[in-house]
């Protein structure tokens, strides 16, 4: 069955967006990522203009992350305090990132910087997570607990002002830490034009030392707010949110997010991390191939990256 999309100005088989929503929603509920790094290119592949694809995906993520946050909140896996600090930083970072894009555009090499940032961030994050979670899986297996050693970095972090305890995550940090890293992810996400879940999750796991299950719930919580903001701005300034496409996507993704959250409880933190690492690495490889293989068309629609 085909439906016509009034903003994308194209017709699509309804099973495509519902199926895509289901798959990406599943990942969202499992790993706490929005899935924009998968969804946007897939929508473009099915004939949706790139600007409409990105804007509509953010609308869909509002639904998927609401569904996912709700599922994780029910079992006490959302650290709202941490979420708010990350959001505050992310909001400021986003404003800064948008300015950075303007500067890059003026310099004329925005596309190069964006693509390279994307490849390197995905590559580094994927590789690090893969190696780390593989290591910790082996460690668990041989029942050797690594002695926690106090590094210089840890001492520096402890010395920062505004130390506070995050009850849900069971960690103590300076409030500046989530604000700073939230801001950094915000800048990068704005430059790359993605939600940044795949960056936020490793920041929470490795820098903020939060338990993986709380990471997923908290990440979804802050993605929800980011995507509300982006959906509004995209509708208001660029007019490229396709409501019908968003509804078709969220039919699948809200369901997928619930199934993902349910399934995630049955997996261990290391298992979740290694699967996410493999997906991130696969996307990296795909982007590298896109960059190096000759494209079939040398002209593309304006907008998007």
């Amino acid at each position: 069955m085909y439906l016509y999309l009034p903003v994308a100005l194209t017709s699509i088989n309804v099973f495509i967006p519902v199926g895509l929503g289901l798959a990406v929603g599943l990942l969202s509920g499992l790993f706490g990522v929005g899935g924009g790094f998968l969804m946007t290119p897939l929508l473009i592949m099915f004939g949706i203009p790139s600007t409409v694809a990105a804007a509509t995906d953010s609308n869909q993520i509002v639904a998927a992350s609401t569904s996912g946050t709700y599922a994780h909140w029910k079992v006490g896996n959302v650290d709202f305090k941490m979420g708010f600090y990350l959001l505050a930083g992310g909001f400021a970072g986003g404003l800064f990132g948008v300015q950075a894009i303007k500067v890059l555009n003026a310099m004329g090499n925005a596309d190069f910087v964006i693509k390279m940032t994307y490849v390197f961030m995905l590559g580094i994050v994927g590789t690090y997570m893969f190696i780390e979670s593989l290591g910790s899986m082996k460690k668990k297996h041989t029942e050797i607990a690594a002695p926690a050693k106090e590094s210089g970095m840890a001492r520096f972090l402890k010395a920062l002002p505004l130390q506070t305890h995050f009850e849900k995550s069971g960690v103590s940090h300076s409030a500046l830490l989530p604000i700073f890293f939230g801001g950094l992810v915000g800048i990068l996400a704005a430059i790359m034009g993605v939600g940044g879940g795949f960056l936020m999750v490793p920041v929470m796991v490795y820098i903020l030392r939060m338990p993986m299950h709380v990471v997923v719930g908290t990440s979804l919580f802050q993605i929800l707010f980011n995507c509300i903001e982006v959906t509004f701005l995209q509708s208001y300034t660029n007019h490229n949110v396709d409501f019908i496409l968003a509804v078709l996507l969220l039919l699948g993704s809200t369901l997928g997010a619930q199934v993902g959250a349910l399934f995630g409880r049955k997996l261990r933190g290391e298992q979740l991390k290694i699967i996410l690492a493999v997906i991130v690495l696969a996307v990296t490889v795909k982007i590298v191939l896109d960059l190096t293989l000759s494209p079939s068309l040398l002209l593309v629609q304006g907008g998007g990256h």
């Binding site: 016509y4 509002v62 019908i244 002209l299």
Partner: protein
């Protein structure tokens, strides 16, 4: 459906001109049959279940004439990003190209191959064929004529990939009837074609020259909910955005609640 009779090169603009041309024909004592063109529907409505359409064009022409049928949108301006190699191996967007005086949709069908029935001059005069389109188009920025030709070819490939440009020959069905012939062609109308007023022009050809033309129109329009949603997105972005967000929040919570009730056993 409007049927227009026009002598080579003259276009009907008003009833007055129509009468004038008819008078001229009579004065010239022309014995040729009137070329006619009729489309099966002149109004394509885009509703939620629209997935393209098909348009048939039929009419009468002089026996033995070759025919070219052109469907085109009004000429306009299009901006596209071009891909190029950076550092020798990285394919990236390397800038923008502006295409002026090009139709968004261009579909051309002839009884025989265009080059075999028309002279270059005639093709250029009536905008028939890709090479005529290329000569007419303005592309910038390009350094040379060769570069223009190269990017125009890429433009055609881009358009063909979304079914908006096509050129074919041999699809037109002709049945002879005394001194005249009936022609008929059935064409796919792509769903990618934007709402616009399209012109169908039919050219009768003899001795490598266009001897008669006829014209009709197809209006493509959004209707109902598709029209109101597209209008709201464009003219009332803030309200549209808020509705979209509320719907998404509602759907997310709704599914969450359903799962809590249904998932009690987990």
């Amino acid at each position: 459906m409007s049927v227009t009779i026009v002598k080579s090169g003259v276009k009907r603009k008003t009833l007055l001109a129509f009468a004038f041309v008819a008078l001229m024909l009579a004065a010239a004592g022309s014995t040729s049959a009137e070329l006619t063109a009729t489309a099966n529907h002149d109004h394509i409505k885009i509703d939620f279940f629209y997935h393209g359409s098909s348009v048939s064009v039929r009419g009468i022409s002089d026996q033995g004439t070759d025919l070219v049928i052109k469907i085109a949108s009004p000429e306009g301006h299009q901006e596209l990003r071009k891909k190029g190699k950076l550092a020798g191996f990285l394919w990236m967007n390397v800038g923008k190209l502006t295409f002026e005086k090009v139709p968004n949709l261009y579909s051309l069908h002839s009884t025989k191959k265009l080059e075999d029935i028309l002279s270059r001059d005639e093709m250029d005069r009536y905008g028939l064929g890709y090479s005529a389109l290329q000569k007419h188009a303005e592309i910038g920025p390009v350094a040379s004529g060769d570069e223009k030709a190269e990017w125009f070819n890429q433009f055609v490939r881009f358009k063909e990939s979304s079914k908006l440009y096509s050129v074919s020959s041999g699809k037109i069905n002709i049945t002879e009837q005394g001194r005249t012939q009936n022609y008929y062609v059935l064409l796919d109308w792509p769903y990618q074609a934007l709402p616009e007023n399209y012109t169908i022009s039919v050219y009768a050809i003899k001795d490598k020259k266009v001897v008669e033309t006829a014209e009709t129109h197809v209006l493509v329009e959004q209707v109902g909910m598709v029209k109101s949603l597209a209008g709201m997105a464009k003219n009332n972005g803030a309200f549209y955005g808020i509705i979209s967000i509320l719907a998404a929040l509602g759907a997310g919570f709704g599914v969450g609640m359903v799962f809590r009730r249904g998932g009690g056993a987990h």
